[in-house]
């Protein structure tokens, strides 16, 4: 059994095999592997005795349950109104300029993926972004570069951030 299958079996043991546990299981796989592969979804479907297409249909409903290979750090820049007003585009430009990737892309070394997202709930501290589960607020291009440099350093050292 490959690691992904083992992970899913363990998760199913841990959470249980009723449909109610689908989201927690999907979230845990995404946490570990950053995305849901075809194999993961098929394995989850088997464990929960539902069809893989149901897993796919459910996963694609939720913006945070990616089903394409993602980088180690997923950057999600808030694009909703206040962040948009307070300079979201400059933040995006700074990221794109620094990482040389466009929205929806992953750096060739698999370190970063860049996405946009809807309201993060920090409108009073706009503009904001999430990197994996961590929130960064009141961003400026300088601050963004600083934050990303920190992650780059972490990635280079191969430090485990979980």
């Amino acid at each position: 059994m490959d690691t992904s299958t083992t992970l899913i079996k363990n998760l199913a043991d841990q959470y249980g095999r009723s449909r109610n546990n689908l989201l927690p299981i999907l979230q845990s796989v995404v946490k570990q592997e950053k995305y849901l592969s075809e194999l993961s979804m098929i394995t989850i479907a088997k464990e929960l005795d539902i069809s893989a297409s149901e897993v796919y249909g459910t996963a694609t409903f939720y913006s945070f349950l990616e089903h394409q290979k993602m980088g180690r750090y997923i950057i999600r820049v808030c694009k909703t109104i206040t962040c948009s007003m307070k300079g979201k585009n400059q933040i995006l430009l700074a990221i794109q300029d620094m990482l040389k990737i466009d929205i929806g892309e992953t750096t060739p070394d698999g370190t970063f993926s860049l996405l946009q997202t809807n309201c993060l709930g920090f409108c009073h501290k706009a503009p904001t972004m999430l990197i994996n589960n961590d929130v960064y607020t009141e961003l400026t291009p300088e601050k963004v570069r600083e934050v990303l440099s920190g992650y780059l350093a972490k990635a280079k050292e191969g430090e485990n951030d979980e």
Partner: protein, 395 residues
């Protein structure tokens, strides 16, 4: 009566220390269900998520529903653009929310509670879990059989709609259900379920601490008590403020505006945009207006100054709705796309200005025909922006 005193009435209940939660819990679970429900009803507390359903009635209906298993769910899927108060409550005073949930469980006969926490707030999970452990530990000591679990969302605004939230918890796509049946009778796992917004529960805590009268005496008729406001946009002091309901928008802007406020979006993207000329006649509260316009609200106040294009604002909202609609019902799925592409066509001149009338009628149809609150409320911002800033839509 509406109270225009030119001064906002600030209050400090929600974030005031919660160190007395054990006492409040122990005291209240000794009171009878009926007494607690009556207390809540007489406080006239209404849901603070935005829809404004009387909380006491909600609890009462669930208490009366016959079922071995019932649930209490705290809706912490705070996704409305411009709203960020629930996060603060869960960060600063989680025990108030947990206590109110347990009292609710006692009232309706539920042993299990859930907090549906939006995925964006994952960072809150571990501290909240710690609070829950401490809370459950105490419940055991007072022989109260009530547990709370966190259920994480995964990035879907629509899951804040209560029946979509149930679907999501059941491991499905967050598609709102047909109503009836209502959650009080058939909610999560088709069992009677009380589902309350985080802030509503925090207010319930206030009421069970100080009594209904203290709460009722605040605010104005039909809009009792205080409310947390999430203030953002063009304001020198963005943040979270607890204010008495019933204030006039003029007073609000005088306090929070930057001196150049052109319009205020009340209630987030699904609320209304109020232009400067109508500030004076607009009061912030629930239905049942006495004078002027009264707006229900989840507490989001976004201020726009004269440098902002209302076209861009509407464009941003519509893009949001177009993406966050669950997509199942025709008026919302297609309507959101048509409104979004429609204002672009008018702006670019592809469609003439009269097309805005057609779009206004469409938004009205969406209001009447959509399955849930999302599609029904797109018309709020759409019509209030288009009608008040027509020129900006065209030129």
């Amino acid at each position: 009566m509406m109270n225009n005193t030119n001064q906002l009435k600030r209050a400090d209940f929600i974030f005031k220390n919660e160190n007395d939660w054990k006492e409040i819990l122990a005291k209240n679970i000794k009171r009878s269900q009926q007494v607690l429900i009556n207390e809540l009803i007489s406080s006239e507390l209404k849901g603070r998520g935005g829809a404004g359903f009387p909380t006491g009635l909600k609890w009462k209906l669930s208490a009366e529903a016959e079922s071995e298993i019932k649930y209490v769910i705290c809706n912490a899927d705070e996704g409305e653009p411009g709203t960020f108060k629930d996060r603060e409550i869960l960060s600063l005073v989680p025990f108030k929310v947990l206590t109110a949930m347990a009292i609710c469980g006692h009232v309706v006969g539920a042993k299990e509670g859930f907090i549906y926490l939006r995925g964006e707030y994952f960072f809150l999970k571990s501290s909240l879990n710690q609070a829950i452990s401490e809370f459950e530990e105490y419940c055991k000591t007072i022989h109260l059989d009530f547990s709370v679990k966190i259920f994480m969302g995964s990035g879907a605004y629509i899951c804040g709609e209560e029946t979509a939230l149930f679907e999501s918890m059941e491991g499905k796509r967050g598609e709102p259900r047909n109503k009836p049946p209502y959650p009080a009778i058939s909610g999560y796992m088709n069992k009677p379920t009380v589902i309350n917004n985080v802030e509503t529960l925090a207010h319930a805590y206030t009421i069970f601490t100080y009594g209904a009268k203290r709460f009722y005496d605040l605010g104005v008729q039909y809009s009792r008590g205080t409310k947390l406001f999430s203030v953002s946009g063009d304001t020198p002091k963005p943040g979270i403020y607890e204010l008495e309901l019933g204030m006039s928008l003029t007073d609000f802007v005088n306090d929070f505006g930057d001196g150049d406020t052109k319009a205020v979006q009340v209630g987030g993207a699904s609320g209304f945009l109020v232009p400067r000329k109508r500030f004076a006649e607009t009061n912030i509260g629930y239905q049942g207006k006495l004078t002027g316009i009264s707006l229900p609200t989840g507490g989001s106040m976004m201020l726009f100054n004269s440098s902002r294009s209302m076209y861009n604002v509407l464009d941003n909202y519509l893009e949001f709705f177009r993406e966050e609609s669950c997509g199942q019902c025709t008026p919302c799925r297609v309507g959101c796309q048509q409104l979004w592409i429609g204002i672009k066509a008018v702006k670019s001149g592809e469609k003439n200005a009269l097309y805005l009338e057609k779009l206004l009628r469409l938004s009205e149809t969406m209001q009447w025909t959509s399955k849930c609150g999302l599609g029904q409320s797109v018309a709020n911002s759409f019509s209030s922006i288009v009608e008040n800033f027509r020129e900006e839509m065209i030129y």
